[in-house]
């Protein structure tokens, strides 16, 4: 088992889907000039215009370009959750988390505004910040820390030995932590509040208070995500080593089942020794030569 998650998105279909759709939705909304449908505020949209659909939409697209960049980076960092759970379980958990965070945020927002006087909490965040925060709990819970390092904040080897050495301890996950903090701060109080609630949602999901993580799976799409090994041995062989480890690593029953009947990677001698030239490469070759 290698310590590092393999780079790139090869065989991370759900992560790829999340990253691409985050960018694509924001881009499409921007081109069609309808970014505003992702804004959710109690006043005026709910209280005055009764546009309850905004409670369903606010997580699906980002309004702010910085959020898009941060969320895409975080999805990439979270890809070892997909490796850990398997694609099928991962997308199911994402779906469940999306529903729980949406329901709890929208419900709390509605309740607070109806019950309490004054507008304490008017606007919800935009973009999939709640989903990210819920998954952030899973990430912290299930990703082992590999190394840590200190940053000395005072001058080392100073003459006064008694002076206490101040240092800042960081570990290999500081990038994710930093990104999450930036994401939270980027939307101000709405971001921090919604982020906190969704993080709690993530904990509840993990502990089983919100059911669904262990049993429930998204229907109909199992075939797309769970590949049986025989279908395309040559392509899988390319990434054989990581597959190998994946098999040992798989804790989840479904993901394990997915890999059980997979053949061991075969040597690729028999295949075409000329590398495949996909269409894109062919086009680019026109300009290279």
């Amino acid at each position: 088992m290698s310590m590092e998650t393999p780079t790139g998105l090869y065989q991370f279909p759900v992560t790829k889907l999340c990253m691409v759709s985050t960018v694509a939705v924001a881009f499409a909304a921007s081109v069609a000039n309808c970014k505003y449908i992702f804004l959710a505020r109690y006043d005026p949209f709910i209280s005055e215009y009764r546009q309850y659909s905004r409670y369903l939409l606010f997580q699906l697209g980002c309004v702010n370009e910085t959020d898009v960049a941060l969320i895409v980076l975080l999805w990439y960092q979270f890809r070892n959750l997909e490796r850990f759970m398997g694609s099928y379980k991962y997308i199911s958990v994402l779906f469940v988390a999306l529903i729980y965070t949406t329901v709890s945020l929208a419900g709390l927002n509605l309740l607070l505004n109806i019950l309490l006087p004054g507008k304490i909490w008017n606007s919800l965040c935009t973009g999939s910040l709640p989903l990210i925060l819920a998954m952030f709990h899973f990430y912290k819970e299930y990703t082992p820390q590999i190394y840590e390092f200190d940053i000395l904040l005072t001058q080392p080897w100073s003459k006064s030995i008694n002076k206490k050495q101040r240092k800042w301890k960081l570990n290999d996950q500081f990038l994710v932590n930093g990104l999450v903090v930036m994401l939270l701060l980027n939307q101000g109080f709405a971001g921090i509040g919604c982020g906190f609630i969704s993080w709690i949602c993530g904990i509840f999901l993990d502990k089983g208070l919100f059911p669904g993580v262990d049993r429930w799976r998204l229907p109909f799409i199992k075939k797309l995500l769970v590949t049986d090994g025989n279908s395309n041995p040559s392509t899988e062989a390319l990434d054989g080593s990581s597959q190998d480890e994946d098999r040992d690593r798989s804790t989840d029953a479904d993901a394990g089942a997915a890999h059980e009947n997979e053949s061991f990677p075969v040597d690729d001698e028999a295949g075409n020794d000329e590398p495949a030239r996909p269409l894109g490469v062919q086009f680019l070759d026109t300009f290279r030569r």
Binding site: S30, V31, N33, Y36, I37, L39, Y49, Q51, L279, R289
Partner: protein
Amino acid sequence: MEIDGNTLIFIIIVLFLFFSSPGGDGVSSQYEFNQLQELRTQWNVEYKSFQGMNYNENFQNITGLKLAYQDIIDDESVNATYPLPSKDYSHWSQDQKYAILPDEVISQVKNNVWTQENADKPDLFPPNITGTLRGHIELVSNDKYSKLPMPIQRFYDPPSEFSDVSPHLGDRYLGDEWPPFSELHNVTFDNGELSVQVSHVDRVYDRLKGNQQTYFNSQTDRWKFLNLRLDFSDKTEHEKHSLLTDAVYDVQHGRILAMTQSAKFHSLFAFPHYMNLENAIESEDTFNSLKKLINEYWNASNFVDTLTMNDLQDWYDSAVYKCEYVAFIQLEPWNEYTPDQLKMIDDELNWPLGRPANLSSVPLINLQSGLLYSPDCGIQLKFNNIKGKRYEIQMRSIRAHLLFGIGLFVTQIYLLLCQMHHTNTPSSVSKLSFYSLSMINLVDGSLATLYFIAASILPELYLPLVISSFACFILASIFETRYLILVYASQFNERNVGLLTLLRRSNNDNNDGTNTEAANTVIPDEASISGTLYGRFFFMLISFTLLTLSSTSWPRKIRMIFEYVTIFVLNSYWLPQIFRNAIKGTLPRRSRLRSEALGIQRQNKMPLLWKFIIGTTIIRTLPVVYVFTYSSNVFRHHKDVRFVVVLCLYLLFQIAVLYSQDILGSRWFLPKLAIPEGYSYHKPMSAQELMEHGSSVDHTVDCAICMSEVPVYVEDVPETHKVDLQTYMTTPCGHVFHTQCLENWMSYKLQCPVCRSPLPPL
């Protein structure tokens, strides 16, 4: 590069010339400086006179307003000087004794144009009427009213010689010097088309080259300051008039008063009096309120200090070449809305947030009635049925169209990729017509350029336009050009070969000269082909785009002929392919299917996918159909259903011919006699030929591809006559291969594997 002193001085001089352009006000000589000073003094004096005026006083020394209509009736030769001895400056009333308009026009404005206020339920008018409105204009009279003399101050004239320093004094009348052709100062058509471009002026710059605009209007619920651009012409567009006017919009009554401004008519000061043409008694409140608006505009824009040479020259030009016009316009009320709803619609259009404003049902801005009168040319015109969408709503609908267009481009890219995948061998690519693809490519490329140009003109639609342009550019310059390069390369050995030879699919056997020439043809590599083709592509693209752009300003008739011919020619994109099919000659579908069933793998499929043909045709025809049949299309193109039907039939005809070529074989329409026998790869050999190939005892040759023996049919040797002719192939250069070996090879290259001479494609 070494820079010596001379070069340095030269560079400094060039830079000096570059950067020593006139300053902010455009003054480049002492004469112009004096001109501008004169202009400023003139405006200042008039502003002071305007300041002293109250609602019951006549205009005094204000350019263009010194005479009233009655003055010219009384004495035709009267000069516009101030003060006129017999004129009453201390009163004002709304009749031709004081105003520049004849009584008849004034009463028409009062009774027919401006609607009277409904006392119990006041009408509601949209507060923001930005947009382009279109309709018809009708000439009421161009000879009935006397022409009011409007002199131009002579300081406007350009210097007569270089040494001139101070501009001339006094003024001059244009009456005698006006150019002889009548359209300039007259309207000669009875019915024409009018477009009114309305834009709001809420903010103004307060200094030259300033970057900060200030809001000036403190009575936005009552008055709006507008800029109106009126363009009208007759139907054939022989006579065009274009006016730029300042206007004041009375939001409460839905009235617009627009007046042109030039060196002979300072209309800015006329708004308070002429907006008041309603009741018999002038309303003091209206007058003062409008005077306040003009003052605010004057002060916020720093009117006198921000005058430039440009203004001076524009005013001079429009004074000389155009008539002055006054337009009275009445808007149709939007009574179906409450003020709150109007505000919401306005907010939503300015700053979309998804308010429940129901923008799809917002009515058009409709000019109920309008009157255009020219005091100095005596022309009266009437507006008819002028309406248009709010600018933002128009932009929304254009955006939706653009998004649909992007979808079309993406589909086209997908279809092209399928097609490229279908023809992935040189043999099959060589069956495609280079010109068919070039036509398609030319249209896509020009669309990309047009979109790109439009993106810089319409900042609101920058993003969708750039995406469209990008999608189109990818399609045209990467995918299609790449495909063109392939086609060009595969057809290169057909150059310098006659049509008949092509039909015969071979180089002439008995003519050794052509044979060697063809053998020596050097097929250039893809890089040099792509260089040539890209050069040609961009040249065609730019010239076609420029032609298209310039054609929009041609007179209507020529423009329409050009448009129809271009559309027709560019929609004949399947004709070259039909021609190409006939040259290459594919078998009828039934015999192709039969040979497939027999397991003989032959390269004789139709070159174009039906998916590609149908899809491309639909994608390319849809926009034309939309533009020509949907009368309120966003391009404001006229409706012509007949042309579209003809065009569709023409396209259907092309597709039908292609289909018949698929079913019946691509040469069915050629008489048998016209088709010479093509080169046949399957032919018996003579014993002598076989000897040259160093044949073995059992009359076999070594296939240079698979290195195993090929049994050959030899005419002179009866025992070889069992050999099936279809099992081997003889090239024109006399080399022998297995059928399967050579056909496989020929799908990569049309060159003989042994001697590299070109091979006729299968």
